[in-house]
Each structure stands twice: as C-alpha cells, then as structure tokens.
C-alpha cells in the first residue's frame, strides 16, 4: 500500500519547495530584475513561437473538428440541428480549447523546458552561470516565464480561432444540417467578449503553472541524463493534473452560477 501513494505523497513533500521556487521566479519578474536579461526574454519568446505554436494550433484544430461533428449529430438527435453553433461557442471556447491548449503546452513546452534546463543543470551549465555571478533562476526561469507571458495570449487567441474554424468546417461544410448564416447567428448569440476573456484567463493560468512546474523540475534535476528523463516524465504527471484542476476551478468560478446565455434564466 505504501507504493500506491507514492505520487500524491511526492507532491505533498515537494509542494512547499515548489511554492518557494515559484515565488522566487515571480519575485524576479515583479521586481523587474528579469529586465536585465530582456534580450534573453525575447529570444525565449521567439523560440516558443517558432517551435510550439503550430503543434498547439494543430491539436486545437483537431479537437474543433471533433467537437463540431459531435455537436452536430447531438443537436440533430435532440431535434435542434440549427443550434449546432452552441456547441462551437460553448464547448470549444469554454472547455475544450483551454484544455487542449493546456495539454499541448504541458507536452510540448513544459517537458521541453524540463529537458532543456535539466540538461543544463547536469552538465554544470547552471553552476557555470552562477559562478559568473548570474542568477540561474532569473536568467533561465524568469526569462522563460516572462517570454511565455508576452507571447501566449496571442497564441491562445489564434488557437481559439483555429478551433472555431474547425468546428465551422465540420458543422457547416461537412455535415451541412445548418446554413452558414444560421450557424453564425447562433454561434455569435451564445458568446460575448467576457467569455473570451474568461477563457483566456483560464488558459493563461494553466500556461503559467506549466512553465513554472517545468522550470522547477528542470532546475532541480539530478542524476545524469537518466535523471533528466525521469524529471521530464514527472513534470508531465503534475501538469496533466493541474490542467484539469485549473479547468474545473475556472469553469466553476466563471460559469458555475451563471450560464451567461442569451435565452432562458
């Protein structure tokens, strides 16, 4: 039985350390210390755009298609095929796009950060930085977090677009129970700007947690290349769970008591 609780116990044990570590990174950003290395911030932002955006959009696109066909068939079966737009507006925007964004962020960016910083740790590069009088936390972690914060809102808004486009393709072009105009009428009725903002907040909360967790696991990696691999795997476990929990808390907070729909209520 002891083994069964290895995962949650591990988290509890390292939780205090993670919080302390994250506070240091956030402190570096809040105190503007990170701006000493603004060039590095921009470089990290650029790397994020070049290497990760397409994959994220691709995944969201697939889930948009999926959501579209599910929604179209479901609405046909309950006799309101014209309302397929609701699925795109709600399912995409409020739930699945943030979640899939979180999944891909964790998989591509989160584990990437662990692998990168972890390998720097074990090949003494972080110690070398420190000996040169440069704080590793500021130079490696805070710059990455700030870089992501600069870029990700735009990446995320584009992925909402990709999800919407995919749902439109699936519902209107592929299944075709509803006309383009009819689809958009419902689609736009069932969302408003605050929804987009809430969705963005949800996704950004996930992204920040993912980057911080990635930095923590990378920065504390030990035990050679094998240790880096293990740390990468562990960060993924933590991130998957936090993505789901943040998604749930966000939904409860933003839409739990108030469906924000144009009809009913």
């Amino acid at each position: 039985m002891d083994d069964l609780f290895a995962v949650p116990r591990g988290w509890l044990e390292s939780f205090g350390e993670i919080v302390k570590f994250c506070a240091r990174i956030l402190g570096d950003i809040a105190s503007l210390r990170v701006f000493k290395y603004f060039g590095e911030v921009l470089r990290q932002a650029g790397i994020l755009i070049v290497s990760s955006t397409l994959v994220i959009w691709g995944l969201v696109f697939i889930i948009g298609l999926q959501c579209g066909i599910e929604g179209a068939y479901f609405d046909r079966s309950v006799g309101v095929p014209a309302y397929a737009g609701v699925f795109a507006a709600w399912c995409d925007l409020r739930e699945l796009v943030p979640l899939c964004f979180g999944y891909m962020m964790a998989a591509k960016v989160g584990t990437g950060i662990v692998a990168e910083i972890g390998s720097m740790r074990i090949s003494d590069e972080i110690d070398a930085l420190e000996v040169m009088g440069i704080s590793g936390v500021t130079f490696l972690c805070a710059t990455r977090l700030l870089g992501s914060m600069l870029v990700l809102p735009f990446v995320y808004l584009c992925s909402i677009g990709a999800g919407f486009f995919a749902s439109y393709l699936a519902v209107v072009q592929q299944i075709g129970d509803v006309s383009s105009g009819g689809y958009f009428l419902i689609f736009w009725q069932f969302q408003n700007p605050p929804d987009v903002l809430y969705s963005l907040i949800k996704a950004m909360a996930m992204a920040i947690v993912i980057v911080l967790v990635g930095c923590y696991y990378g920065y504390t990696a030990t035990g050679g290349p094998v240790g880096v691999g293990t740390a990468t795997a562990k960060s993924m476990v933590f991130n998957i769970v936090s993505v789901h929990v943040i998604g749930m808390l966000g939904t409860q907070l933003f839409w739990g008591a108030n469906p924000r729909a144009p009809i009913g209520g």
């Binding site: 995962v7 691709g58 390998s119 094998v226 880096v228 691999g229 729909a261």
Partner: protein
C-alpha cells in the same frame, strides 16, 4: 540553389515520414513477436501492469472527476437548464462520458503518466547501453521489453477506461447536485441510454489508444540519443507525438462511427 530550397522543405517531412514508418515497423514486429512462441515476458508484463496501475490511479482520479464535473457536467447542465431539461443530463453523460470524454481523458493521462515513464525508463537503458548488452547476450529487446509494455499498456488503458467512466459520472452527479436537482432522473436517463455496445466500443477504443501510446513511447525510448538532453528530449517528443496520434485517431474513429451509426446519438427519454 533549387536543390537546397527543396531540401529545406522536404528534409523535415522526410524525417517525420521515416519516423512514422519506423513506428509502423516496430508495431508489426511487436505483434508478431507477441504471438510467436516462446513467451518469456510474463513476469515483465505483470510488473509493467502493476507499475502503470500504481502510477496512474491517482492522477486519473483527480483528472476524471475534475473533467466530468467541468465540461460535461457544469456546461452541459447550463445548456440543458435553458430548456428545462436537466433530467437529460444522465443521457448526455452516456454520450459524452462513455463515448468521448472518459476514453479521451484516460488516454491523455496514460500517455502523460505511464507513457512518459516508459520512455524515460527505456531511454535510460538505451544510453546506459543496457539494450546493446541485451542484444549481445542474445536477448531480443522487442520480445522482452516492448511486448510486455505493449500488452500491459493496452490492458491498463482499457481497464482504466471503466475507472475513468465511473469517476467521470461521479463528476456529473456532483454537477447535478450543485444545480439542486434530484439524482433520480439523472440515473433514469443514464440507464435508458447506456448500452453494452457503448461500453464495448469505448473499451475497444481505449485499448487501441493504449497500443498507440505504447508504440510511440517505446519507440522514442529505444531510439533516445546520448548526451545530457537525450532522454528528456525523447520524453518530450514521445508525449507530443502520442497526443497528436491519439487526437487524430480519435477523430477518425468518431467520424466513422457517427457517419455509419448516426442513431447512436439519439437520447431516449
């Protein structure tokens, strides 16, 4: 110059295709090797099975309850409340949870937790030259390492689907309670709509997800490169490819299923 431009466009594509091809070959060899005697992988199979079970039960528990409460629970309840039809949430849960979300969350968690652990483990053996040592000793790494992982992950993912389903529905129950509705109608529409076909379909789908995860993660682990970043990079790539493959496969599966059996989505009162 023309050739270099062409190269620049096609070289990455060729790399991707080559990897996909190699994964196909690994799948084929794994299946053949699993079927052909001898069968020395029993102990390793049990070990891997228990390993995945131990590692995944908790993350999966949290994830499915959160997901079930969040997406199909709260939001669908929001939607159904508009039409005064919250009692159909149970029916919706059959549609959403059994067919889509439970398999989906199950696969994501298994890939993220067990898959990454497998890649890290095999990658470690690759760079410690344990895999080479096995081959020198005349032991086939595919039969002794990949096959048990492949089978164990298929079985675990299939079984965890039911587990995910239970806790996903539990999330739906929570959502119903939060909306101050009695649970009776929820269960009534749930059981009216649930069919063993649904369950079987769901389990078969997740078993195939398990196979995808196992092949991708084993492949990436066994081809991990040396150097400080090698294993970490392998895990990184494995989980990205596994996610994309799961999503793509799921899309095709749903597409075919719904196009051929549109009546599946009818909600019976």
């Amino acid at each position: 110059m023309a050739t270099t431009a062409v190269d620049r466009v096609f070289a990455p594509t060729r790399g991707v295709l080559q990897e996909a091809g190699e994964m196909m070959i690994l799948t084929g060899r794994t299946i053949v090797s699993a079927v052909k005697p001898p069968y020395p992988y029993g102990a390793e199979f049990v070990g891997q099975f228990m390993f995945a079970l131990r590692l995944c039960w908790f993350p999966l528990l949290v994830s499915t309850v959160a997901f079930g409460y969040e997406a199909p629970g709260l939001q669908a309840a929001n939607f159904l409340v508009l039409f005064g039809a919250l009692d159909r949430l149970g029916g919706f849960f059959v549609l959403a949870s059994i067919r889509e979300f439970a398999p989906f969350v199950d696969a994501i968690v298994l890939a993220g937790v067990a898959g990454t652990a497998i890649t890290a483990d095999l990658g470690a053996r690759r760079i410690r030259e344990e895999l080479d040592a096995l081959e020198v000793l005349g032991v086939d790494p595919i039969k002794n390492l990949v096959v048990p992982r492949f089978l164990a992950l298929m079985l675990v993912t299939g079984l965890f689907d039911i587990y995910a389903l239970l806790f996903g529905v539990f999330g739906g129950v929570l959502a119903t309670l939060v909306n101050h509705q009695p649970l009776g109608p929820f269960w009534a529409t749930f059981f009216n709509n649930a069919s063993t076909t649904d369950l079987w379909g769901s389990v078969v789908k997740t078993t195939l997800f398990g196979a995808i995860i196992a092949v991708v993660c084993c492949y990436k682990g066994m081809t991990a490169k040396g150097g400080a970043e090698g294993v970490g990079r392998a895990v990184n790539e494995a989980v990205v490819i596994a996610f994309l493959a799961i999503f793509a496969f799921n899309y095709v599966f749903t597409q075919v299923l719904l196009a051929t059996h549109p009546a599946l989505t009818d909600i019976v009162k």
